[in-house]
C-alpha cells in the first residue's frame, strides 16, 4: 500500500493529469476544465437577474458532478492514503517563507494563516477571502483556469490559452515577489 500513501513523482502524476483530456473527450465530448463549475453553481443557486447566469446549467451538470468527485477523491486520499510525512519542500523556499514569518510546514497550507481563527485578521482575510475572490473572478474573466486554459487549451494548441497561461504566471510572480511579502508582514 506504499504506492497509495507515498507522494507520486511528477512524471507519474503529470501524465495522469494529462490523460484526463482524452478520457473526458472520449467519454462524452467533454472539455477538461474546472472553473466552469463555479459558474454553474451561481446559475443554479444565485442567478438573480444576471444574463450571464441564465442558461441551462443542468445540461452542464457533468462538470458539477466531476467537481463533487474531486471533493470525494480529496477526502479518500486525504484521510486514507495520507502521506505520514510532511511534504518535502525545498530548503530555499522554507528559508524564504520563514523569514516572512511562516512557521508551520506540516500541512497542505500554512496553518498559521489558513485557519478559521485568522479569517478575521487582515492577513488571513486578504489571503483567503480576497485571494479566493480573485480566483473566481479572474478565472471566469479569463475564460478558464489552469485546467481549462493551461492544460486543455494548450493541448488543443489555442493561442488565447497560451496568452492566458502566461498571464496566470505573470500575475502569480508579481504577487509572490512584490505583494505577498507585504501581506505577510501585516
Amino acid at each position: 500500500m506504499n504506492i497509495l500513501t507515498q507522494p507520486w513523482p511528477w512524471y507519474v502524476s503529470g501524465p495522469l493529469i494529462g490523460l484526463m483530456v482524452p478520457i473526458l473527450l472520449i467519454m462524452g465530448n467533454k472539455t477538461f476544465g474546472i472553473s466552469s463549475s463555479l459558474r454553474h453553481i451561481c446559475a443554479a443557486c444565485i442567478p438573480g437577474k444576471v444574463e450571464f447566469f441564465k442558461y441551462d446549467w443542468k445540461a452542464e451538470s457533468w462538470n458539477l458532478i466531476f467537481a463533487l468527485g474531486i471533493v470525494l477523491g480529496g477526502l479518500v486520499a486525504g484521510y486514507f492514503f495520507a502521506n505520514p510525512n510532511p511534504i518535502q519542500i525545498s530548503e530555499a523556499t522554507v528559508t524564504d517563507l520563514s523569514s516572512m514569518g511562516i512557521k508551520n510546514y506540516s500541512g497542505f497550507v500554512p496553518t498559521d494563516i489558513f485557519s478559521f481563527d485568522s479569517l478575521l485578521t487582515v492577513k488571513g482575510f486578504l489571503l483567503m477571502v480576497v485571494g479566493g475572490f480573485f480566483v473566481g473572478f479572474g478565472t471566469r474573466y479569463a475564460g478558464g483556469c489552469t485546467s481549462g486554459h493551461a492544460i486543455m487549451g494548450l493541448s488543443n494548441l489555442q493561442l488565447p490559452s497560451l496568452i492566458a497561461t502566461i498571464c496566470f504566471f505573470v500575475g502569480g510572480l508579481a504577487m509572490t515577489w512584490f505583494i505577498l511579502p507585504w501581506i505577510l508582514s501585516l
Binding site: 482524452p22 489571503l127 473572478f137 479572474g138 479569463a142 510572480l173 504577487m175 505583494i179
Partner: protein, 136 residues
C-alpha cells in the same frame, strides 16, 4: 446514471491532485520562486500528454463511446484572457490553489478552504454582474 462516470473520473482526479501534492500552498510558492522543478514537471508533462492525445484524436478521428464525432470548441481571444489571467494569477499565488485543488482541499478535511471556495463562487458571481461593463 450515465453521469456516474464523471463522479468516478472526478474522484480519480481528486486523488491525483492530492498525491501529486499540487494542492500544497508551499508547492505553488516553490514554483513561483523557481525553487523546485516538481510543478513545472507536472504541468509540462500533463500538457505534453494532452497535446499528443488531442493530435491523435484528430488524426484518427476517434469517436466518443457513444459514437459521436469529437469536437473541441476553439477559444476566442479577448482582453479578459490577459486582465482576468493576471487577476487569477494573483489569487493563485495568494491561496496557493486553483479551482480543482480548492475542491480537493475541502475534501481532505481543510474546512477553512470552503471559505476560499465560497469566495471564489462569489467572485464568479460578481464577474457575471459586471461582465457588460468590463473590457473584453
Amino acid at each position: 446514471m450515465s453521469k456516474i462516470k464523471f463522479l468516478l473520473l472526478g474522484f480519480i482526479f481528486g486523488v491525483i491532485l492530492i498525491k501529486a501534492e499540487v494542492i500544497s500552498w508551499f508547492r505553488i510558492q516553490e514554483m513561483f520562486r523557481f525553487q523546485a522543478f516538481q510543478m513545472y514537471g507536472i504541468i509540462g508533462s500533463a500538457v505534453m500528454i494532452g497535446v499528443i492525445s488531442v493530435f491523435l484524436i484528430k488524426k484518427y478521428k476517434v469517436k466518443t463511446i457513444h459514437g459521436e464525432e469529437i469536437k473541441i470548441a476553439p477559444k476566442q481571444f479577448n482582453k479578459g484572457n490577459i486582465i482576468g489571467g493576471l487577476i487569477f494569477g494573483f489569487g493563485w499565488a495568494m491561496t496557493g490553489a486553483c479551482p480543482g485543488p480548492l475542491y480537493a482541499l475541502v475534501g481532505s478535511g481543510l474546512l477553512v478552504i470552503a471559505v476560499v471556495l465560497l469566495s471564489a463562487i462569489f467572485g464568479t458571481w460578481v464577474y457575471g454582474c459586471l461582465r457588460n461593463k468590463l473590457p473584453h
